[in-house]
Amino acid sequence: MSDFVIEKGIFITVIFALTMLMAMYSTLAERKIAAWLQDRVGPNRAGKGGILQPLADGLKLFSKEEFLPDTPNKFLFIMGPAISMSIALMTSAVIPWGTNLQVGGHTVELQATDINVALLYVFGVLSVGVYGIMIGGWASNNKYSLMSAMRASSQMISYEVPMGLAIIGLIMIDGSLSLRHIAENQHGMNWNVFYQPVGFLIFLVCSFAETNRTPFDLAECEAELIGGYHTEYSSMRMGFYLFAEYASMFISSTILAVLYFGAYNYPGMDWVAENWGGNAASLIGFGVLFAKICFFIFFYMWVRWTIPRFRYDQLMRLGWRMFIPLAIANIVVTAVVLVWYDKL
Protein backbone atom coordinates (compact mmCIF):
# COMPACT_ATOMS: atom_id res chain seq x y z
CA MET A 1 0.00 0.00 0.00
CA SER A 2 2.73 2.48 0.96
CA ASP A 3 4.62 1.50 -2.19
CA PHE A 4 1.56 2.54 -4.13
CA VAL A 5 1.39 5.89 -2.36
CA ILE A 6 5.09 6.62 -2.94
CA GLU A 7 4.85 5.62 -6.59
CA LYS A 8 1.82 7.80 -7.20
CA GLY A 9 3.35 10.62 -5.20
CA ILE A 10 6.48 10.62 -7.33
CA PHE A 11 4.43 10.40 -10.50
CA ILE A 12 2.12 13.25 -9.53
CA THR A 13 5.10 15.41 -8.57
CA VAL A 14 6.71 14.73 -11.93
CA ILE A 15 3.53 15.61 -13.78
CA PHE A 16 3.07 18.73 -11.68
CA ALA A 17 6.61 19.83 -12.42
CA LEU A 18 6.17 19.07 -16.11
CA THR A 19 2.96 21.10 -16.27
CA MET A 20 4.64 24.01 -14.54
CA LEU A 21 7.64 23.79 -16.83
CA MET A 22 5.45 23.65 -19.91
CA ALA A 23 3.39 26.60 -18.71
CA MET A 24 6.57 28.54 -17.96
CA TYR A 25 8.06 27.92 -21.35
CA SER A 26 4.74 28.46 -23.08
CA THR A 27 5.05 32.11 -22.09
CA LEU A 28 8.40 32.25 -23.83
CA ALA A 29 7.12 30.21 -26.77
CA GLU A 30 4.18 32.54 -27.17
CA ARG A 31 6.42 35.57 -27.39
CA LYS A 32 8.85 33.83 -29.69
CA ILE A 33 6.19 32.47 -32.03
CA ALA A 34 4.40 35.79 -32.07
CA ALA A 35 7.65 37.41 -33.08
CA TRP A 36 8.46 34.87 -35.74
CA LEU A 37 5.00 35.04 -37.27
CA GLN A 38 5.44 38.80 -37.46
CA ASP A 39 8.97 38.62 -38.92
CA ARG A 40 10.58 39.75 -35.69
CA VAL A 41 13.18 38.05 -33.52
CA GLY A 42 11.52 38.04 -30.13
CA PRO A 43 13.10 37.98 -26.67
CA ASN A 44 16.75 37.01 -27.05
CA ARG A 45 18.62 38.81 -24.28
CA ALA A 46 18.07 36.67 -21.18
CA GLY A 47 20.25 33.63 -21.69
CA LYS A 48 21.05 32.05 -25.03
CA GLY A 49 18.18 32.76 -27.39
CA GLY A 50 16.14 34.10 -24.48
CA ILE A 51 16.00 30.76 -22.70
CA LEU A 52 16.03 32.38 -19.25
CA GLN A 53 13.29 34.84 -20.12
CA PRO A 54 10.56 33.08 -18.08
CA LEU A 55 12.79 33.29 -14.99
CA ALA A 56 13.35 36.97 -15.60
CA ASP A 57 9.61 37.50 -16.04
CA GLY A 58 8.91 35.61 -12.83
CA LEU A 59 11.52 37.60 -10.92
CA LYS A 60 10.00 40.80 -12.20
CA LEU A 61 6.48 39.77 -11.19
CA PHE A 62 7.62 38.72 -7.72
CA SER A 63 9.47 41.95 -7.10
CA LYS A 64 6.65 44.22 -8.21
CA GLU A 65 4.46 46.03 -5.74
CA GLU A 66 1.46 44.04 -4.57
CA PHE A 67 -1.43 46.38 -4.91
CA LEU A 68 -4.62 45.53 -3.07
CA PRO A 69 -7.70 47.56 -3.99
CA ASP A 70 -10.16 48.67 -1.32
CA THR A 71 -12.20 45.55 -1.77
CA PRO A 72 -15.02 44.30 0.47
CA ASN A 73 -13.50 40.85 0.62
CA LYS A 74 -9.74 40.52 0.59
CA PHE A 75 -9.90 36.77 1.03
CA LEU A 76 -11.84 36.29 -2.19
CA PHE A 77 -9.56 38.70 -3.98
CA ILE A 78 -6.65 36.41 -3.19
CA MET A 79 -8.72 33.27 -3.82
CA GLY A 80 -9.49 34.24 -7.46
CA PRO A 81 -6.08 33.48 -8.96
CA ALA A 82 -5.60 30.57 -6.58
CA ILE A 83 -8.80 28.89 -7.83
CA SER A 84 -7.82 29.47 -11.46
CA MET A 85 -4.43 27.95 -10.87
CA SER A 86 -5.62 24.89 -8.93
CA ILE A 87 -8.32 24.17 -11.49
CA ALA A 88 -5.80 24.32 -14.29
CA LEU A 89 -3.61 21.80 -12.49
CA MET A 90 -6.28 19.44 -11.15
CA THR A 91 -7.36 18.12 -14.52
CA SER A 92 -4.04 16.42 -15.14
CA ALA A 93 -4.91 13.79 -12.51
CA VAL A 94 -6.93 11.62 -14.88
CA ILE A 95 -4.87 11.94 -18.01
CA PRO A 96 -3.12 8.79 -19.21
CA TRP A 97 0.42 9.89 -20.04
CA GLY A 98 1.48 6.54 -21.43
CA THR A 99 1.13 2.79 -21.10
CA ASN A 100 2.79 0.86 -18.30
CA LEU A 101 6.41 0.91 -17.31
CA GLN A 102 8.18 -2.10 -15.79
CA VAL A 103 10.46 -0.89 -13.02
CA GLY A 104 12.16 -3.70 -11.08
CA GLY A 105 9.47 -6.31 -11.73
CA HIS A 106 6.78 -3.92 -10.68
CA THR A 107 4.29 -2.24 -12.99
CA VAL A 108 4.05 1.53 -12.90
CA GLU A 109 0.98 2.92 -14.56
CA LEU A 110 1.65 6.27 -16.23
CA GLN A 111 -1.51 7.86 -14.92
CA ALA A 112 -2.24 9.42 -11.56
CA THR A 113 -5.61 7.73 -11.29
CA ASP A 114 -7.73 5.77 -13.72
CA ILE A 115 -11.33 6.48 -12.83
CA ASN A 116 -14.18 5.40 -15.05
CA VAL A 117 -15.81 8.85 -14.99
CA ALA A 118 -12.64 10.67 -16.02
CA LEU A 119 -14.33 12.72 -18.71
CA LEU A 120 -17.08 13.84 -16.35
CA TYR A 121 -14.40 14.75 -13.85
CA VAL A 122 -12.58 16.85 -16.45
CA PHE A 123 -15.75 18.69 -17.37
CA GLY A 124 -16.70 19.14 -13.74
CA VAL A 125 -13.33 20.65 -12.88
CA LEU A 126 -13.35 22.83 -15.98
CA SER A 127 -16.69 24.34 -15.08
CA VAL A 128 -15.36 25.33 -11.65
CA GLY A 129 -12.78 27.41 -13.50
CA VAL A 130 -15.48 30.02 -14.08
CA TYR A 131 -15.40 30.80 -10.36
CA GLY A 132 -11.78 31.87 -10.51
CA ILE A 133 -12.60 34.52 -13.07
CA MET A 134 -15.95 35.51 -11.59
CA ILE A 135 -14.67 35.84 -8.03
CA GLY A 136 -11.57 37.68 -9.18
CA GLY A 137 -13.65 40.13 -11.17
CA TRP A 138 -16.14 40.66 -8.37
CA ALA A 139 -13.66 41.01 -5.53
CA SER A 140 -11.74 43.64 -7.47
CA ASN A 141 -14.56 46.06 -6.59
CA ASN A 142 -14.29 47.58 -10.03
CA LYS A 143 -17.25 47.80 -12.36
CA TYR A 144 -15.17 47.20 -15.48
CA SER A 145 -13.60 44.13 -13.96
CA LEU A 146 -17.01 42.85 -12.94
CA MET A 147 -18.36 43.36 -16.45
CA SER A 148 -15.35 41.62 -17.91
CA ALA A 149 -15.76 38.75 -15.50
CA MET A 150 -19.45 38.48 -16.46
CA ARG A 151 -18.52 38.47 -20.12
CA ALA A 152 -15.81 35.86 -19.63
CA SER A 153 -17.90 33.58 -17.46
CA SER A 154 -20.93 33.72 -19.72
CA GLN A 155 -18.62 32.84 -22.58
CA MET A 156 -17.19 29.90 -20.69
CA ILE A 157 -20.59 28.64 -19.62
CA SER A 158 -21.96 29.02 -23.16
CA TYR A 159 -19.14 27.08 -24.73
CA GLU A 160 -19.26 24.31 -22.18
CA VAL A 161 -22.61 23.24 -23.63
CA PRO A 162 -21.46 22.52 -27.21
CA MET A 163 -18.22 21.12 -25.78
CA GLY A 164 -20.13 18.58 -23.74
CA LEU A 165 -22.39 17.76 -26.67
CA ALA A 166 -19.44 17.36 -29.02
CA ILE A 167 -17.86 14.81 -26.74
CA ILE A 168 -21.02 12.67 -26.67
CA GLY A 169 -20.42 11.43 -30.21
CA LEU A 170 -17.00 10.23 -29.14
CA ILE A 171 -18.37 8.52 -26.06
CA MET A 172 -20.95 6.74 -28.20
CA ILE A 173 -18.21 5.30 -30.39
CA ASP A 174 -15.99 4.43 -27.49
CA GLY A 175 -18.55 3.29 -24.96
CA SER A 176 -16.57 4.51 -21.97
CA LEU A 177 -15.89 7.69 -20.02
CA SER A 178 -12.48 6.50 -18.91
CA LEU A 179 -9.67 8.38 -20.62
CA ARG A 180 -7.45 5.31 -20.38
CA HIS A 181 -10.05 3.29 -22.26
CA ILE A 182 -10.44 6.02 -24.89
CA ALA A 183 -6.67 6.16 -25.34
CA GLU A 184 -6.38 2.38 -25.69
CA ASN A 185 -9.20 2.26 -28.20
CA GLN A 186 -7.20 4.49 -30.52
CA HIS A 187 -4.39 1.96 -30.79
CA GLY A 188 -2.77 1.88 -34.19
CA MET A 189 -4.10 4.64 -36.36
CA ASN A 190 -7.69 4.45 -35.10
CA TRP A 191 -7.58 8.06 -34.02
CA ASN A 192 -10.95 9.46 -33.10
CA VAL A 193 -10.44 12.50 -35.27
CA PHE A 194 -11.01 10.29 -38.34
CA TYR A 195 -14.34 9.06 -36.96
CA GLN A 196 -15.48 12.32 -35.39
CA PRO A 197 -14.15 15.19 -37.54
CA VAL A 198 -17.08 17.48 -36.84
CA GLY A 199 -17.03 16.66 -33.15
CA PHE A 200 -13.31 17.39 -33.11
CA LEU A 201 -13.79 20.74 -34.79
CA ILE A 202 -16.45 21.79 -32.29
CA PHE A 203 -14.37 20.54 -29.40
CA LEU A 204 -11.33 22.39 -30.68
CA VAL A 205 -13.13 25.70 -31.02
CA CYS A 206 -14.75 25.25 -27.61
CA SER A 207 -11.33 24.54 -26.11
CA PHE A 208 -10.20 27.89 -27.44
CA ALA A 209 -13.17 29.50 -25.73
CA GLU A 210 -12.66 27.61 -22.47
CA THR A 211 -9.02 28.59 -22.21
CA ASN A 212 -9.85 32.20 -23.09
CA ARG A 213 -7.53 32.22 -26.05
CA THR A 214 -7.88 34.32 -29.17
CA PRO A 215 -10.32 34.65 -30.92
CA PHE A 216 -12.27 34.12 -27.70
CA ASP A 217 -10.12 36.28 -25.42
CA LEU A 218 -12.80 38.78 -24.53
CA ALA A 219 -11.90 38.13 -20.91
CA GLU A 220 -8.73 40.09 -21.26
CA CYS A 221 -7.59 42.77 -23.61
CA GLU A 222 -5.88 45.96 -22.67
CA ALA A 223 -6.93 48.09 -25.56
CA GLU A 224 -10.66 48.12 -26.05
CA LEU A 225 -12.14 46.20 -23.14
CA ILE A 226 -10.14 47.75 -20.28
CA GLY A 227 -7.86 44.94 -19.21
CA GLY A 228 -10.50 42.48 -18.18
CA TYR A 229 -11.31 40.67 -14.97
CA HIS A 230 -7.73 41.11 -13.74
CA THR A 231 -7.55 44.88 -14.15
CA GLU A 232 -6.99 45.39 -10.41
CA TYR A 233 -4.46 42.61 -10.06
CA SER A 234 -0.78 43.31 -9.86
CA SER A 235 2.51 41.48 -9.43
CA MET A 236 2.36 37.72 -8.91
CA ARG A 237 -1.43 37.57 -8.43
CA MET A 238 -1.75 38.83 -11.96
CA GLY A 239 1.04 36.47 -12.91
CA PHE A 240 -0.93 33.59 -11.43
CA TYR A 241 -3.91 34.35 -13.64
CA LEU A 242 -1.72 34.47 -16.72
CA PHE A 243 0.21 31.42 -15.63
CA ALA A 244 -3.06 29.57 -15.06
CA GLU A 245 -4.04 30.42 -18.60
CA TYR A 246 -0.90 28.77 -19.91
CA ALA A 247 -1.28 25.78 -17.60
CA SER A 248 -4.85 25.28 -18.77
CA MET A 249 -3.70 25.65 -22.34
CA PHE A 250 -1.26 22.82 -21.76
CA ILE A 251 -3.92 20.66 -20.13
CA SER A 252 -6.47 21.39 -22.83
CA SER A 253 -3.90 20.51 -25.50
CA THR A 254 -3.35 17.27 -23.63
CA ILE A 255 -7.05 16.52 -23.58
CA LEU A 256 -7.31 17.28 -27.28
CA ALA A 257 -4.41 14.94 -28.00
CA VAL A 258 -5.79 12.19 -25.78
CA LEU A 259 -9.38 12.38 -26.97
CA TYR A 260 -8.94 12.88 -30.68
CA PHE A 261 -5.34 12.39 -31.69
CA GLY A 262 -4.57 8.95 -30.36
CA ALA A 263 -3.01 9.92 -27.03
CA TYR A 264 0.29 8.06 -26.61
CA ASN A 265 -0.38 5.76 -29.57
CA TYR A 266 1.79 5.96 -32.63
CA PRO A 267 2.06 3.84 -35.75
CA GLY A 268 4.44 0.93 -35.26
CA MET A 269 3.94 0.81 -31.51
CA ASP A 270 3.46 -2.99 -31.46
CA TRP A 271 6.62 -3.49 -33.49
CA VAL A 272 8.62 -1.40 -31.01
CA ALA A 273 7.11 -3.28 -28.08
CA GLU A 274 8.04 -6.65 -29.61
CA ASN A 275 11.57 -5.74 -30.68
CA TRP A 276 12.78 -3.19 -28.13
CA GLY A 277 10.60 -4.11 -25.15
CA GLY A 278 7.51 -2.65 -23.57
CA ASN A 279 9.38 0.06 -21.63
CA ALA A 280 10.85 1.56 -24.78
CA ALA A 281 7.45 1.54 -26.48
CA SER A 282 5.92 3.21 -23.46
CA LEU A 283 8.58 5.89 -23.19
CA ILE A 284 8.38 6.66 -26.92
CA GLY A 285 4.61 6.88 -26.45
CA PHE A 286 5.15 9.42 -23.68
CA GLY A 287 7.34 11.43 -26.05
CA VAL A 288 4.80 11.12 -28.84
CA LEU A 289 2.05 12.41 -26.58
CA PHE A 290 4.24 15.38 -25.71
CA ALA A 291 4.95 16.06 -29.37
CA LYS A 292 1.21 16.11 -30.01
CA ILE A 293 0.67 18.41 -27.03
CA CYS A 294 3.39 20.76 -28.25
CA PHE A 295 1.77 20.83 -31.66
CA PHE A 296 -1.54 21.87 -30.13
CA ILE A 297 0.12 24.53 -27.98
CA PHE A 298 1.76 25.82 -31.12
CA PHE A 299 -1.60 25.70 -32.86
CA TYR A 300 -3.15 27.81 -30.11
CA MET A 301 -0.47 30.42 -30.64
CA TRP A 302 -0.60 30.16 -34.39
CA VAL A 303 -4.33 30.91 -34.35
CA ARG A 304 -3.83 33.70 -31.85
CA TRP A 305 -1.60 35.63 -34.24
CA THR A 306 -3.82 34.95 -37.25
CA ILE A 307 -7.41 35.81 -36.49
CA PRO A 308 -8.82 38.86 -34.76
CA ARG A 309 -11.03 38.81 -31.68
CA PHE A 310 -14.76 38.10 -31.94
CA ARG A 311 -17.35 40.67 -31.15
CA TYR A 312 -19.43 39.59 -28.18
CA ASP A 313 -22.69 39.03 -30.07
CA GLN A 314 -20.86 37.11 -32.81
CA LEU A 315 -19.32 34.94 -30.15
CA MET A 316 -22.65 34.15 -28.54
CA ARG A 317 -24.26 33.50 -31.93
CA LEU A 318 -21.51 31.08 -32.85
CA GLY A 319 -21.88 29.22 -29.58
CA TRP A 320 -25.60 28.97 -29.25
CA ARG A 321 -26.97 29.12 -32.77
CA MET A 322 -24.30 27.29 -34.70
CA PHE A 323 -22.33 24.96 -32.49
CA ILE A 324 -25.14 23.54 -30.38
CA PRO A 325 -27.30 22.52 -33.39
CA LEU A 326 -24.19 21.24 -35.15
CA ALA A 327 -23.17 19.21 -32.11
CA ILE A 328 -26.65 17.73 -31.79
CA ALA A 329 -26.65 16.87 -35.50
CA ASN A 330 -23.29 15.20 -34.94
CA ILE A 331 -24.78 13.07 -32.17
CA VAL A 332 -27.72 12.04 -34.36
CA VAL A 333 -25.53 11.18 -37.34
CA THR A 334 -23.15 9.21 -35.14
CA ALA A 335 -26.06 7.28 -33.66
CA VAL A 336 -27.53 6.50 -37.08
CA VAL A 337 -24.17 5.33 -38.42
CA LEU A 338 -23.57 3.16 -35.35
CA VAL A 339 -26.96 1.47 -35.67
CA TRP A 340 -26.37 1.00 -39.39
CA TYR A 341 -23.06 -0.74 -38.75
CA ASP A 342 -24.64 -2.94 -36.08
CA LYS A 343 -27.23 -4.10 -38.60
CA LEU A 344 -24.64 -5.06 -41.23
Binding site: I33, W36, L37, D39, V303, I307
Partner: protein
Protein backbone atom coordinates in the same frame (compact mmCIF):
# COMPACT_ATOMS: atom_id res chain seq x y z
CA UNK B 1 -11.99 57.26 -67.81
CA UNK B 2 -15.03 57.65 -65.65
CA UNK B 3 -14.95 58.82 -62.04
CA UNK B 4 -15.86 55.34 -60.84
CA UNK B 5 -12.80 53.66 -62.27
CA UNK B 6 -10.34 56.40 -61.47
CA UNK B 7 -7.78 55.47 -58.90
CA UNK B 8 -4.37 56.98 -58.25
CA UNK B 9 -2.92 53.86 -56.69
CA UNK B 10 -4.60 51.50 -59.14
CA UNK B 11 -5.79 49.44 -56.18
CA UNK B 12 -9.26 50.87 -55.87
CA UNK B 13 -11.93 48.23 -55.38
CA UNK B 14 -15.65 48.47 -55.46
CA UNK B 15 -17.30 47.56 -52.18
CA UNK B 16 -19.71 44.69 -52.51
CA UNK B 17 -22.30 43.66 -50.00
CA UNK B 18 -23.08 40.33 -51.61
CA UNK B 19 -24.41 37.52 -49.47
CA UNK B 20 -21.80 35.06 -48.36
CA UNK B 21 -22.01 31.56 -49.75
CA UNK B 22 -22.30 28.59 -47.44
CA UNK B 23 -18.56 27.88 -47.38
CA UNK B 24 -17.75 31.52 -46.86
CA UNK B 25 -20.15 31.82 -43.97
CA UNK B 26 -18.44 28.91 -42.23
CA UNK B 27 -15.27 31.04 -42.12
CA UNK B 28 -13.23 27.85 -41.90
CA UNK B 29 -11.77 28.22 -45.36
CA UNK B 30 -10.83 31.82 -44.69
CA UNK B 31 -9.29 30.91 -41.34
CA UNK B 32 -7.30 28.12 -42.96
CA UNK B 33 -6.05 30.53 -45.62
CA UNK B 34 -5.06 32.96 -42.92
CA UNK B 35 -3.21 30.25 -41.03
CA UNK B 36 -1.30 29.37 -44.17
CA UNK B 37 -0.29 33.00 -44.61
CA UNK B 38 0.98 33.33 -41.06
CA UNK B 39 2.86 30.03 -41.08
CA UNK B 40 4.73 31.17 -44.15
CA UNK B 41 6.11 34.06 -42.15
CA UNK B 42 7.64 31.60 -39.70
CA UNK B 43 10.20 30.68 -42.32
CA UNK B 44 10.92 34.08 -43.82
CA UNK B 45 14.09 35.99 -43.06
CA UNK B 46 13.71 38.31 -40.08
CA UNK B 47 14.19 41.96 -40.84
CA UNK B 48 15.34 42.89 -37.34
CA UNK B 49 18.78 44.40 -36.90
CA UNK B 50 20.01 43.46 -33.43
CA UNK B 51 21.21 46.89 -32.53
CA UNK B 52 24.15 46.93 -30.17
CA UNK B 53 25.83 44.06 -32.00
CA UNK B 54 24.75 44.90 -35.51
CA UNK B 55 24.59 48.45 -36.77
CA UNK B 56 22.58 49.43 -39.76
CA UNK B 57 24.74 50.72 -42.58
CA UNK B 58 24.51 54.48 -42.69
CA UNK B 59 23.89 56.39 -45.90
CA UNK B 60 26.84 58.13 -47.52
CA UNK B 61 25.38 61.50 -46.64
CA UNK B 62 24.90 60.51 -42.99
CA UNK B 63 25.62 63.27 -40.50
CA UNK B 64 26.67 61.99 -37.10
CA UNK B 65 28.20 63.67 -34.07
CA UNK B 66 30.03 66.98 -34.40
CA UNK B 67 33.76 67.26 -34.15
CA UNK B 68 35.91 70.37 -33.79
CA UNK B 69 38.87 69.71 -36.02
CA UNK B 70 42.55 70.28 -35.52
CA UNK B 71 44.95 71.28 -38.27
CA UNK B 72 47.96 69.29 -39.43
CA UNK B 73 49.99 70.55 -36.48
CA UNK B 74 47.38 69.52 -33.96
CA UNK B 75 46.12 73.05 -33.32
CA UNK B 76 42.45 73.83 -32.93
CA UNK B 77 41.08 75.36 -36.07
CA UNK B 78 38.13 77.17 -34.49
CA UNK B 79 38.49 80.90 -34.24
CA UNK B 80 35.22 81.51 -32.44
CA UNK B 81 33.78 83.70 -35.14
CA UNK B 82 30.25 82.63 -34.28
CA UNK B 83 29.09 81.95 -37.82
CA UNK B 84 28.09 78.41 -36.95
CA UNK B 85 25.96 79.67 -34.08
CA UNK B 86 24.41 82.18 -36.45
CA UNK B 87 23.73 79.58 -39.10
CA UNK B 88 22.25 77.10 -36.63
CA UNK B 89 18.47 77.02 -37.14
CA UNK B 90 17.94 75.31 -33.79
CA UNK B 91 20.17 77.76 -31.92
CA UNK B 92 22.02 74.90 -30.32
CA UNK B 93 25.54 76.36 -30.42
CA UNK B 94 26.97 78.81 -27.93
CA UNK B 95 30.55 79.87 -27.56
CA UNK B 96 32.80 82.27 -25.78
CA UNK B 97 35.87 83.69 -27.49
CA UNK B 98 39.22 84.47 -25.88
CA UNK B 99 42.50 85.87 -27.09
CA UNK B 100 45.43 83.59 -27.63
CA UNK B 101 48.25 84.34 -25.15
CA UNK B 102 51.90 84.28 -26.19
CA UNK B 103 53.19 80.74 -25.89
CA UNK B 104 49.88 79.14 -26.85
CA UNK B 105 50.66 79.17 -30.58
CA UNK B 106 50.87 75.40 -30.72
CA UNK B 107 47.40 75.11 -29.21
CA UNK B 108 45.27 77.41 -31.32
CA UNK B 109 45.74 78.27 -34.97
CA UNK B 110 44.25 81.76 -34.95
CA UNK B 111 44.75 84.64 -32.56
CA UNK B 112 41.24 84.19 -31.25
CA UNK B 113 39.91 80.88 -30.04
CA UNK B 114 36.81 79.44 -28.36
CA UNK B 115 37.38 79.03 -24.66
CA UNK B 116 33.91 77.62 -24.31
CA UNK B 117 32.17 75.88 -27.17
CA UNK B 118 28.92 74.10 -26.38
CA UNK B 119 26.32 72.32 -28.46
CA UNK B 120 23.01 71.46 -26.90
CA UNK B 121 22.39 68.00 -28.29
CA UNK B 122 18.72 68.13 -27.33
CA UNK B 123 18.28 71.02 -29.73
CA UNK B 124 20.61 69.98 -32.51
CA UNK B 125 18.86 68.62 -35.58
CA UNK B 126 22.03 67.48 -37.38
CA UNK B 127 21.23 69.63 -40.41
CA UNK B 128 24.89 70.34 -41.13
CA UNK B 129 24.47 74.09 -41.61
CA UNK B 130 27.20 74.78 -39.03
CA UNK B 131 29.57 72.73 -41.12
CA UNK B 132 28.67 74.75 -44.21
CA UNK B 133 28.89 78.08 -42.44
CA UNK B 134 32.32 77.50 -40.95
CA UNK B 135 34.97 79.54 -42.82
CA UNK B 136 37.84 77.78 -41.06
CA UNK B 137 36.76 74.19 -41.70
CA UNK B 138 36.71 73.74 -37.96
CA UNK B 139 33.39 71.99 -37.34
CA UNK B 140 32.35 68.83 -39.10
CA UNK B 141 29.58 66.35 -38.66
CA UNK B 142 31.32 62.98 -38.56
CA UNK B 143 30.22 59.68 -40.01
CA UNK B 144 30.10 58.20 -36.50
CA UNK B 145 27.10 55.94 -36.03
CA UNK B 146 27.13 56.69 -32.35
CA UNK B 147 24.84 59.62 -31.74
CA UNK B 148 24.06 61.05 -28.35
CA UNK B 149 24.15 58.60 -25.43
CA UNK B 150 21.11 58.47 -23.19
CA UNK B 151 21.29 60.24 -19.84
CA UNK B 152 19.02 61.10 -16.93
CA UNK B 153 20.11 64.72 -16.62
CA UNK B 154 19.46 67.41 -19.19
CA UNK B 155 22.85 68.97 -18.33
CA UNK B 156 24.53 65.89 -19.75
CA UNK B 157 23.24 66.68 -23.20
CA UNK B 158 25.15 69.93 -23.45
CA UNK B 159 28.39 68.84 -25.04
CA UNK B 160 31.41 71.00 -24.26
CA UNK B 161 34.84 71.09 -25.83
CA UNK B 162 35.87 67.97 -23.94
CA UNK B 163 33.42 65.96 -26.04
CA UNK B 164 33.65 67.93 -29.27
CA UNK B 165 37.31 68.63 -29.98
CA UNK B 166 39.07 66.00 -32.03
CA UNK B 167 41.15 63.79 -29.73
CA UNK B 168 44.88 64.47 -29.99
CA UNK B 169 45.87 60.92 -30.80
CA UNK B 170 43.46 60.99 -33.73
CA UNK B 171 45.04 64.25 -34.95
CA UNK B 172 48.50 62.72 -34.61
CA UNK B 173 47.42 59.67 -36.55
CA UNK B 174 46.03 61.96 -39.25
CA UNK B 175 49.30 63.87 -39.63
CA UNK B 176 51.21 60.61 -39.99
CA UNK B 177 49.09 59.36 -42.89
CA UNK B 178 49.14 62.73 -44.60
Amino acid sequence: MSMQTMSLSGRKKEVSNKKMSFWESLYLVAIFKGLMITIRHLFTRKVTIKFPEQVRKRADVWRGRHMLMRDDQGRERCTACGLCALACPAEAITMKAEERKPGEEMLYREEKYASIYEINMLRCIFCGLCEEACPKQAIYLTKSGELVPAAYDRENFIFGKDQLVMPLDLAIANTKTA
